[in-house]
């Protein structure tokens, strides 16, 4: 065992650096003890405590180096390590600058980093919404909550806090909004006109709003804003807090000439509240209530256009040769299967079909409880519909989106279900929606068209008549290129309608051939 002790004069390093250097020396092979420190009284004492003897005259401005090792070679290795560590400590730091601030881990931190952002869009798990949304509200930001599974008591707490802060909560389960021309969530590209009247939309439902605004856009009406309020806003506990806030916002919006509120029939007491508010705002306000015995969205749009004195255009549809020639197997009826991504579109389809078909329509979002799908049909991932007659499924409903993306983003369940219907001998017609716009699949027909073509081939090979009708919700400006999508679907053999109600009627007419002649004719518009 060898001890080496030296004092280096005029060498100063701060104590933390010296601790690190001492560690480097201790780590050298064969070194059993090491001390590298300024020779303060305490450090000298500590070093003596390790068994080293310290030369006289050591002072706090001297660097004390004490190394113990197996032999001289080890000591030298220790001193080499010391010199290397000292050199490294003296070298100018490899400056990486001050570095950016760490990524914001909450909406509050993001709001501090982005003081001008007026809107926060949340798609975090439902249970985490409350914290992030409260951050937004406390920072004076408006919130769009795309997430579902938010407890209703959280919704109430958030909307009460938002009222106090003077901001609006859009949602929860708000699929779409368009603010200042920017689409939040699922949103269509709205062009509108530059001269005509402008409409601001308050919507409780996502695809309902997309259908309404797409058709208004088709008619050349400019949409100023689309404010989603969430499917529960007009329920008794939530008490229309966001609808009322949206009315106030749109009343003060210089770009909004008319307001349209689209929703299912609200709770009675809440309806009164909304009516009262609507009657006091200076901007003309039109309610569009959906449901049994009420106009469908296409009819509602036509009524709005009437009020705006804007002519109703022919709603686009794209038909394959077989339909245009009207030579399909028109005498054979059968079951209708509706496969939807949009809940409101599915609901509307059932209402339209139910008006014309004398057959019960089963569904996971049934029009009445006795029409609910049997438990055996669900719980497989892809529902089993065989033997259930006419069925409309909303694949965007919670049971199909737990742990997987919405079918407007990932259509795989829908495609599997479509293929399954083709080999079901009961099925005469398949009705499905395709929703375009931001956030939706970038090229839905690329996946869908081959499956449609294969479905039609399967039926043809079995000698069965089968038709596919597509409700194509979107605008001419959508990034997916609506014309190209429609053309691809038509080429695969489907007929395509921009109006969901028209698509549903066309499908119903195929399911019940006796309705066909009066249904198809008025719907043929633009050719593919």
């Amino acid at each position: 065992m060898t001890d080496h002790v030296e004092l280096r004069r005029g060498v100063y390093q701060d104590s933390v650096t010296l601790l690190r250097i001492a560690q480097a020396v201790s780590a050298a092979p064969g070194v059993t003890a090491a001390q590298v420190a300024m020779a303060t009284e305490l450090n000298v004492e500590l070093t003596v405590g390790l068994g080293f003897s310290i030369p006289d005259g050591a002072g706090p401005n001297d660097l004390l180096v004490a190394v113990r090792g197996d032999d001289d070679a080890t000591i030298r290795a220790g001193l080499d390590a010391l010199d290397a560590a000292m050199a490294a400590a003296a070298a100018p730091a490899q400056s990486t600058g001050f570095g950016g601030a760490p990524a914001p881990r909450s909406v509050r931190a993001a709001a501090q980093a982005a003081p001008d952002s007026a809107v926060v869009v949340l798609s975090v798990p439902g249970s985490a919404v409350i914290g992030e949304a409260m951050d937004a509200i406390e920072a004076g930001r408006h919130v769009m909550i795309f997430s579902d599974n938010v407890p209703v008591e959280h919704e109430v707490a958030l909307k009460e806090a938002a009222d106090r802060a003077g901001v609006i909560v859009m949602g929860p389960d708000c699929g779409t909004a368009v603010i200042g021309g920017v689409g939040l969530g699922f949103a269509n590209v709205l062009a509108g006109s530059t001269s005509g009247p402008t409409v601001g939309v308050i919507a409780a439902s996502g695809t309902g709003a997309q259908q309404l605004t797409s058709l208004l856009d088709e008619a050349g009406v400019a949409i100023s804003q689309v404010i989603g309020v969430g499917g529960r806003d007009l329920s008794e506990p939530v008490a229309a807090r966001s609808t009322l806030a949206a009315l106030r916002l749109l009343e003060g919006d210089p770009n909004t000439d008319h307001i349209v509120i689209i929703s299912k029939p609200p709770h009675l007491a809440v309806a009164k509240k909304v009516q009262d508010a609507a009657s006091t705002v200076s901007t003309p306000t039109m309610p569009v209530l959906l449901g049994k015995g009420r106009p469908n969205i296409t009819e509602a749009v036509e009524a709005v256009l009437g009020a705006l004195e804007v002519p109703v255009p022919e709603w686009p549809s794209w038909l394959p040769e077989s339909v245009r020639g009207n030579d399909s197997e028109s005498d054979v009826g059968g079951a209708l299967r509706g496969l939807f991504s949009g809940g409101t579109l599915a609901d509307e389809a059932m209402l339209v079909i139910g008006d014309v078909l004398q057959t019960p329509i089963r569904s996971n979002i049934p029009l009445s409880p006795e029409l609910a799908l049997p438990a055996a049909a669900l719980g497989h991932g892809v529902p089993h519909l065989s033997g259930l007659g006419t069925v409309v499924v909303d694949l965007g409903d919670d049971e199909f989106t737990k742990g997987r993306p919405h079918p407007m983003i990932d259509p795989s369940v829908k495609l599997d279900l479509l293929a399954a219907q083709a080999s079901d001998p009961d099925v005469r017609v398949i009705l499905l929606d395709v929703v375009l716009g931001y956030c939706a699949e970038p090229d839905p027909s690329a996946l869908l068209a081959p499956v449609i073509a294969a479905a039609l081939d399967t039926a043809a090979a079995a000698g069965r008549p089968l038709d596919v009708v597509v409700s194509l919700c979107g605008t001419a400006g959508d990034p997916q290129d609506r014309e190209r999508q429609a053309a691809a679907l038509v080429a695969a053999g489907a007929q395509v309608h921009a109006s969901n109600a028209a698509a549903a009627r066309a499908a119903a007419a195929i399911a019940d051939p006796s309705l066909q002649t009066r249904s198809i004719a008025p719907l043929s518009g633009k050719d593919a």
Partner: protein, 476 residues
């Protein structure tokens, strides 16, 4: 202030699935994306209940205002040193009574350093003949009792041992002179009682501190106060954090500024020159002397913020060498504890990780008040304790802003463009982000009698926060 929603194309903050952010970027919208992670609900006996508790607290309409109030009260404190007095006199302590750092603990669960400090305090007070005698009496509870400093308006670094004969700094809030906090006098580094050492030199130093240092400081402080001047500890803290001290592991500038405040009064005290010289040398030679003034300043701030219904702001963080404990404003005096972690850092010559005791001391009151590890950016030298670099120090402080309620402009961080210290750790933000408060600390040897073995960085166990949220939810 509410933003104008419809003023024009908005810029947007997003949290959640990336698709929504990319769809906005496609529209040439300026997007700030939150790096969202699901809230932390473990460790917990019942993670689902912890999650539900967090939801309930977040939905509590009192929370925002209560936290703002807690933060405002912390920032409003102006701590001034008004006296130096023996604990017997200041706190009414009687023989056999001891205070210690951290949450409450029983003898059988005490760690080595706390044991060593208790033994040393027994010897110092003349209650035991030797260490074995002291240990036997402590184990039997024979004429001795001990309780947390925090429950007596006091704080103490490391073992935090306070016995009746020790002298204490007495600080008050200048804005509310009835609010008081006490802390013992700092012994220096190496073999010292607070690190669990109890050898003769330790006891002798304590005697000198009680006989010479305490009384000398009392004369000096009283004469300064009598002359109508204030010894504004908060102001010194504000200056030290602009001079490279973070106020926990580095107190060099603060110590020298304090010496500057009291030295004239010491010199004119009429005490023997040798005593004045020894006192000045002791204070000036102990880089941590001012720590024991920073801590009661923090204690005043934490106490000022406590007891506000609905507030989720942490008002105390401390450790007894076995458990880490926190207190939260909305639950007042209740302790939430978890196993104290082992600090990571560098060891003094001759020691290694095996020699270290788990985290100990009330000194995490410095992080509670928004400095210490929270303002690592202002003392980049400290980050090297874990082998980091200057950008790491900056990142730590910037990360801390994500879990604190407010920023303290009185404790500004120059390198961050004088941004105020991140102050008022919020239990809900810790759980939501998973970010724990950063604490700088010394390390005590695990064997009673060892003393200091190193220094480093540590965080509280998440248990403290998961337990706190459940109790907070019970009061919603």
């Amino acid at each position: 202030m509410a933003h104008d929603l419809l003023a024009g194309p908005p810029s947007v903050i997003t949290a959640g699935i990336d698709l929504l952010a990319s769809a906005l970027r496609e529209q040439a919208v300026d997007v700030t994306a939150v790096d969202f992670r699901p809230p932390v609900t473990e460790p917990s006996d019942d993670p689902a209940a912890t999650a539900a508790a967090l939801d309930a607290v977040l939905a509590d309409p009192r929370r925002a205002a209560a936290n703002a109030e807690a933060a405002a009260r912390m920032l409003a404190v102006r701590a001034v040193l008004v006296d130096v007095v023996p604990a017997r006199e200041a706190l009414g302590m009687t023989a056999g009574e001891f205070y210690h750092a951290g949450p409450p603990i029983t003898w059988d669960r005490t760690s080595g350093p706390l044991r060593g400090a208790l033994i040393g305090a027994m010897l110092f007070e003349g209650l035991a003949a030797d260490a074995a005698d002291a240990e036997a009496k402590l184990a039997a509870g024979d004429g001795v009792s001990f309780s947390p400093c925090h429950e007596h308006h006091a704080v103490g670094p490391m073992a935090g041992l306070v016995s009746p004969s020790m002298w204490m700094f007495k600080l008050v809030d200048a804005e509310h002179p009835d609010r008081v906090a006490y802390c013992s006098l700092n012994e220096g580094l190496g073999k010292v009682l607070r690190y669990g050492a109890y050898s003769n030199e330790v006891i002798e130093r304590l005697r000198w501190m009680a006989d010479i240092l305490g009384p000398a400081l009392q004369i000096a402080v009283r004469s300064i106060v009598a002359s109508g001047k204030e010894i504004d500890v908060s102001a010194i803290v504000g200056q030290m954090v602009q001079m490279g001290d973070e106020g926990h592991n580095r107190n060099r500038a603060g110590t020298l500024m304090f010496l500057r405040e009291v030295l004239p009064a010491l010199i004119s005290s009429g005490l023997p020159v040798a005593d004045v010289s020894a006192v000045a040398a002791f204070m000036g030679g102990n880089d941590h002397f001012f720590l024991n003034l920073v801590m009661p300043c923090g204690k005043l701030m934490g106490d000022a913020a406590s007891g506000i219904p609905g507030s989720t702001v942490v008002t105390a963080m401390c450790r007894n060498g076995t458990d880490f404990g926190i207190r939260v404003s909305g639950t007042d005096d209740e302790w939430f504890t978890g196993p104290a972690n082992y600090p990571e850092g560098l060891f003094l010559a001759g020691f290694s990780a095996e020699d270290a005791n788990p985290d100990i001391g009330d000194s995490a009151i410095t992080e509670t008040m928004g400095i210490g590890g929270m303002v690592m950016a202002t003392a980049p030298a400290i980050v090297r304790f874990v082998g980091g670099a200057v950008p790491d120090a900056l990142a730590v402080t910037q990360r801390m802003y994500q879990i604190t309620e407010t920023e303290n402009p009185a404790f500004p961080v120059p390198i961050l463009e004088f941004r105020g210290a991140p102050t008022g750790v919020d239990v809900t933000r810790v759980l939501r982000s998973g970010i724990l408060p950063q604490i700088n600390t010394g390390m005590a040897g695990k064997v009673a009698g060892t003393g200091q073995v190193g220094a480093g960085l540590v965080t509280p166990p998440m248990d403290c926060f998961t337990k706190a949220i459940v109790s907070l939810a019970g009061k919603v």
